[in-house]
């Protein structure tokens, strides 16, 4: 499977990822450092005291020099220190938040793929019946309704109306407990996050199932007396999944982007919450660090999806 061509392809993609990370981090670096005000606005320090602080954190140097220092740190896996909570190292902080976000994103991905493929297959098998119409409508609702609306509805239903019934298991008005939350606390954010992208997966799965079902080998499988369930799952779905893989990239990006909003609603201590807070707090180093991590993450997510593509469809070679 790992032919020479594939290795060259992976190499090219890695170069593109590195290039993207450089461009993105420099762009963000330039943006945050040209913002009005400085990192220590909230401290109300002026004059010499401010100059000393700026010098201490290297913020008085020209931007290219600062960026060069940032790159030197990045190569060693050191993203610098926070300017808001002074001297807090960013790398461990961001990695912990990344693990929280990854857990949320992973749960959302399971929701998205599970819902999307199930709905898509059911809709295709029952084409032009009420099942089909219902499921395709749910799919359109899925990618039309903003995730914060789904999340708010969830809070309203589970947190308010059912609160007395479930005795706090679904009590959402409070931010979640601990770093990773409990499974009950995770479920609603994951569903709110995954529902949006599941609509597109439903759509594509349905379309490609409809195409595959009409093919001759499906008729052959039926003709030799296989059970319908086995024909659908083992013969049709397997081939219908190829186009579905192609939108996994945008799906993952959608989940990463959506997690920024969801984490802020539910008070989840992840990367997305940190991103928004760091901007409001003028914590330049954290903003740049989080952005860099996002760029790396998306680069590798896309690369993984493209490689999964070759596994599912061996005809594709790079």
């Amino acid at each position: 499977m790992l032919t020479r061509g594939t290795l060259i392809y992976i190499g090219q993609r890695l170069v593109l990822i590195v290039f993207t990370v450089l461009v993105v981090s420099f762009g963000v670096f330039a943006v945050v450092h040209s913002l009005p005000g400085n990192a220590f606005v909230s401290d109300r320090v002026h004059g010499t005291a401010l100059q000393i602080l700026l010098h201490q954190y290297g913020l008085d140097q020209p931007i290219p020099v600062q960026y060069w220092n940032f790159l030197k740190g990045l190569v060693h896996g050191n993203l610098g220190v926070s300017l808001y909570i002074r001297d807090l190292p960013i790398t461990p902080l961001v990695l912990r938040e990344l693990s929280v976000s990854a857990m949320l994103g992973g749960a959302a991905l399971i929701v998205t793929i599970g819902l999307g493929i199930t709905f898509g297959v059911l809709a295709a098998v029952r084409q032009n019946t009420w099942v089909d119409y219902l499921l395709t409508s749910i799919a359109v609702v899925g990618y039309s309704v903003p995730s914060f609306v789904i999340a708010s509805l969830g809070i309203l239903i589970f947190g308010q109306w059912l609160n007395n019934v479930s005795h706090g298991a679904f009590f959402y008005p409070e931010p979640w407990t601990g770093t990773y939350g409990t499974l009950a606390e995770l479920s609603l954010p994951a569903i709110a996050l995954g529902f949006y992208t599941s609509g597109q997966i439903t759509r594509i799965t349905r379309a490609s199932m409809l195409e595959v079902i009409q093919q001759d080998y499906i008729r052959t499988a039926r003709a030799k007396g296989l059970e319908n369930r086995i024909v659908i799952i083992r013969h049709a779905l397997r081939n219908a999944l190829v186009p579905v893989t192609s939108i996994l990239g945008p799906t993952v990006i959608g989940i990463i982007t959506g997690s920024v909003v969801i984490e802020n609603i539910f008070g989840i201590p992840g990367l997305g919450k940190e991103f928004v807070e760091s901007i409001f707090q003028h914590d330049y180093n954290v903003t740049v660090g989080v952005f860099t991590i996002y760029a790396v993450l998306i680069g590798f997510a896309n690369l993984t999806v493209d490689l999964v593509y070759t596994v599912i469809d061996p005809r594709i070679r790079y």
Partner: protein
């Protein structure tokens, strides 16, 4: 279709069947009309546009006037949608909020159309180094989460409606460029382009005079999907607090203002109305876009 059957000259009230030759556009419009869902969506969007126009001149109360009624007032006869946390009339604010959504949606679609189509067609027509450069830029933009770039741009440019539009356009042009590039790649090989080239037409004339009109169908369909996507991104931005500066009403910001009172459990309506308005509007744009695609691009029909 080996043999051509003789066409019987059927006559009916509207004339002969053979005489009924319609253009692609009229055929598309007719198919669009038969799609009830798309029609309903179109009617809703027209009503929304009227409400938006109306709100420019008249609202039941002044949308930004604090204390028109008791704070957190539930819906009553005088205030059919209730009041928000500062005692502002929710209906008036909902009406005014449509301005931001429609402005962002339409303006972004226009900018994306211009930038994406120009870059895509040029890349697809010239290929080679130009294509490589434009494709590299596209790939870099695909490599970052659009919402975060929009946030960064928005923070850089400062809070205003124009800057929201710029930020969203800057992160939303890639799909359009890719579509236009694909169209240009396939159309440039057709005979009439060769004819135009041998007739001495300049590259600009070929790209924008010959290729663009023939690629317009899928491009317009794609543009109708840019509108809901832009409204959605704008709602996310304003919901996170990167929106039009207060006190201007917009649906995303209204929803985020309503979140505390929903979580506190005393007034879900402040959040409910903008959430419903946003959802229905996005649904309508998506249904209309689906109808448009099915009508004008039947090959893509699901």
């Amino acid at each position: 279709m080996a043999t051509l059957l003789p066409v019987p000259a059927v006559e009916y009230a509207g004339g002969t069947l053979a005489g009924e030759q319609v253009s692609l556009w009229r055929d598309g419009v007719r198919r669009l009309r038969r799609n009830k869902l798309a029609l309903a969506a179109a009617i809703y969007l027209m009503v929304l546009a009227l409400v938006c126009l109306l709100s420019l001149f008249w609202t039941p109360y002044k949308p930004n006037l604090i204390g028109t009624c008791v704070t957190y007032a539930l819906p009553t006869g005088a205030h059919p949608l209730g009041c928000d946390d500062l005692g502002r009339d929710s209906l008036s604010r909902l009406m005014v909020g449509s301005q931001v959504s429609l402005a962002v949606g339409l303006a972004t679609a226009f900018i994306v159309l211009v930038i994406g189509v120009a870059l895509g067609l040029v890349a697809g027509y010239f290929r080679g180094a130009v294509d490589a450069l434009i494709s590299l830029a596209t790939n870099i933009f695909y490599g970052v989460p659009p919402l975060l770039v929009a946030v960064a741009l928005y923070v850089l440019l400062g809070p205003s409606l124009i800057n929201i539009i710029i930020a969203i356009s800057a992160t939303g042009w890639m799909d359009m460029a890719r579509l236009a590039r694909g169209q240009a790649l396939s159309i440039r090989e057709r005979e009439f382009i060769e004819a135009a080239r041998s007739g001495g037409a300049r590259a600009g004339k070929i790209v924008f005079g010959h290729i663009m009109p023939n690629a317009l169908g899928p491009i317009i369909v794609q543009a109708t999907f840019v509108i809901p996507a832009a409204i959605l991104t704008a709602a996310f931005l304003t919901f996170l607090g990167f929106g039009v500066p207060p006190p201007t009403a917009d649906w995303g910001g209204m929803a985020s203002e309503g979140l505390p009172s929903l979580q506190g459990g005393f007034d879900p309506y402040i959040l409910l109305w903008p959430a419903v308005a946003l959802s229905v509007t996005l649904l309508a744009f998506n249904f209309f876009g689906d109808g448009l695609r099915d009508a004008f691009d039947p090959r893509q029909k699901r």
